[in-house]
């Protein structure tokens, strides 16, 4: 479960590049390419293995005009999805109950 105090980092296997706010992500071992939207791309940037998810919400609150609670819910959902996709991995698990995550769409190319 991912909560606001969870710490995540980008998986060693991925390489990514941001183009016009979207991220082109390569999974090295699978040689698979994904494209992430702007929010997911920013989450990849923020997933440095040091700052907890709550700090990402604070950083993104300065960039998106979205109510804080809504932003926190969206960030938790994206983080959970990126972790399920194997793009992020947990460094330090949550100590509080995590929200249930929904599944946002990740664009895949052939």
């Amino acid at each position: 479960m991912i909560a606001l105090d969870t710490v995540l980092r980008r998986h060693d296997d991925i390489r990514y590049r941001t183009i016009d706010r979207e991220a082109v992500v390569v999974r090295q071992r699978a040689a698979e390419v994904l494209v992430l939207n702007d929010v997911a791309s920013r989450i990849l940037d923020l997933a440095d293995g040091a700052a907890p998810v709550g700090a990402w919400v604070e950083a993104l609150a300065a960039e998106y005009a979205v109510p804080r609670a809504e932003l926190a819910r969206d960030v938790l959902e994206f983080a959970a999805e990126l972790a399920r996709e194997g793009l992020l991995e947990v460094v330090s698990p949550a100590t509080a109950a995590a929200r249930p995550a929904m599944v946002p769409a990740l664009g895949k190319t052939p």
Binding site: V24, A31, V33
Partner: protein, 314 residues
């Protein structure tokens, strides 16, 4: 399965460096993007076959052994070095082993390596098939497959890429239609040819950056069913990058630069599977994806999509 096991009798004895017994003393020089590509160590018959296959792309013999471009050598090995492969229903494949300063390749009667020491050079080892048929039947295909890999890496180090694509010229500008096997590259090429356009290749084309911005498309002698291997062509400015989809009617929807870059990366053979050079390739493609408008083209066998495409592209 470890590297080379499917094709080589003794994979551990894969040549560790660029050495061996040349087939002969002949050379050819191929005028292709990133070249010239100079290959030495050919027999007279092999030289003749290369000239027959690649026609006017073969430069003057005097150019061979010169400086610049990419130097490669051809070596002979015993047929017993290769495993017999049952090719019935087999899809052509090459086994790769990537390292920071080299790439090793093993395939059907082919061992090859690319070395950066520090400049790129190639080595190709092949054999007769035990019935004396190698030079008549197998060598041109083996040579071309080696050349495809060599060009992919050479174009990457020059800032470009080799792309699985159909390249079509319309109004003096080139469109690249991208997609995996079965996406419709050959069908679209035939339709375009029938509509009076020039088809560069329905299989592999070279995309490179232009110094002042934009990109150029170069014809390559690597074709599927449409295009010719024997003649040269001027480079054309890139007009559009299109991902192919088959559908009931012609349609176009734009692609973001990130999705275009991802598409290009997915369609860059050989190098996109190389963990040591994929980053360089991705950097190249990030720039090239912005060089022209990109989109998804839906087309059918019946409809003419060209008018729609010209009107749709910004």
């Amino acid at each position: 399965m470890s590297f080379g096991e499917a094709f080589l009798a003794l994979p551990d004895l894969f040549p560790a460096r660029r050495s061996g017994e040349p087939w002969g003393g002949r050379s050819v020089s191929l005028e292709l993007p990133g070249g010239p590509y100079q290959v030495s160590g050919l027999s007279a018959a092999q030289e003749s076959q290369v000239r027959e296959r690649f026609g006017e792309l073969c430069g003057a013999p005097a150019a061979a052994g010169g400086t610049g471009g990419v130097q490669s050598r051809l070596f002979a090995v015993a047929a017993g070095d290769f495993r017999e492969v049952d090719t019935r229903g087999w899809e052509y494949a090459i086994d790769f082993d990537h390292a920071p300063r080299s790439v090793r390749c093993a395939g059907l009667r082919i061992m090859a390596r690319l070395d950066w020491s520090p400049v790129l050079s190639g080595s190709l080892w092949t054999c007769e098939d035990g019935k004396g048929r190698a030079e008549q039947e197998l060598f041109p295909g083996i040579f071309e497959n080696f050349l495809r890999v060599l060009l992919a890496y050479r174009l990457t180090e020059l800032g470009g890429a080799l792309l699985h694509s159909a390249g079509v010229v319309d109004g003096g500008q080139a469109f690249l239609f991208l997609g995996a096997s079965g996406a419709g590259k050959t069908t679209l090429s035939r339709l375009s040819l029938a509509a009076g356009r020039t088809v560069l290749s329905d299989d592999l084309n070279a995309l490179s950056p232009l110094p002042g911005g934009g990109a150029r498309v170069d014809k390559l002698p690597f074709t599927g069913d449409v295009g010719d291997r024997r003649s040269g062509s001027p480079a054309y400015p890139l007009r559009g990058l299109l991902q192919l989809e088959k559908g009931p009617a012609a349609a176009f929807r734009p692609l973001s630069a990130a999705r275009a870059a991802a598409l290009l990366l997915a369609c860059s053979p050989f190098v996109n599977a190389d963990p040591h050079r994929r980053e360089r390739l991705a950097a190249n493609l990030s720039g090239l994806a912005r060089a022209a408008p990109a989109g998804v083209l839906t087309f059918s066998r019946e409809g003419d999509f060209w008018d729609m495409l010209r009107k749709s592209l910004p």
